[in-house]
Symmetry: C2
Subunit: 152 residues, 2 copies
């Protein structure tokens, strides 16, 4: 049972600063995707944050890649469950070799380079349209920090 | 960039012990669900683990409740992204008042009691059919600890 009192809710400005810090500082996120069959999938992936978009790489034949390419939309989450950043975004598939600067940056950020692997990978660039940030129940109000692609 | 070497992969027995410990010890999990529209949803929820099933509670009108009740299936994840437990399971909706012992246990485990809240909640009991557990890349092989509802 949780009995401790959470600290007072953060201001919008503080949440935006914390969100950007988490995006810059974290390595992995949870990627949710939905199949045509109406089943949800969920996996952790490493990502590269360029200041406005997130890029992940995964095997092209994986459920995550197929789902994201089909729907063109992802919902991803960073951070522990009591300090979450949740992002809804559009997805663009980028073939290996199409953007070497991005591929180099992805390899530096994630510590793995799909260009060196035998399986066929694809990069998926996620552009956030909506971002929410909250820690505890008392931060559910005011959790939106981005809407319609704009920081509030 | 991650350069440290991970420890050697755990045995199946160790993974099962660690998975049960995580299920008993954690409070929150990530719940992925899919809508009829083919969009994925993802939220953190607190849960109660009774030794074989997980019970969460959420607002009946929420996307998560509607998606899970529609599809009858959930994919949920526990733990940090480098020590994951990922569960695929079937979902059963339980109305408030239908199982007081379960509702008491849920309130004790999660620290909140939907029976005291103004919004209409529903309990969702998830029965695992498949569970995977891994820490780093080198544990991807052998990540299945449950298949077809049976511990391996």
């Amino acid at each position: 049972m949780l009995t401790r009192m959470p600290p007072p809710p953060r201001s919008l400005e503080q949440r935006k600063r914390d969100t950007l810090e988490q995006l810059r500082g974290a390595v992995d996120l949870w990627v949710a995707s939905a199949g045509e069959d109406g089943d949800a999938h969920l996996v952790p992936l490493s990502y590269y944050w360029d200041g406005s978009t997130l890029t992940v790489a995964t095997v092209r034949a994986s459920r995550t890649a197929r789902n994201l390419i089909r729907s063109g939309r992802a919902r991803v989450a960073l951070g522990p469950t009591r300090d979450v950043v949740i992002i809804d975004g559009s997805v663009e598939a980028i073939a290996l070799g199409a953007d070497p600067a991005l591929e180099d940056a992805h390899a530096r950020a994630t510590g793995f380079d799909p260009r060196t692997l035998a399986a066929e990978y694809v990069y998926l660039r996620i552009t956030p349209h909506a971002i929410q940030a909250w820690r505890e129940e008392n931060e559910l109000a005011g959790r939106d920090v981005m809407r319609n692609g704009r920081w509030l």
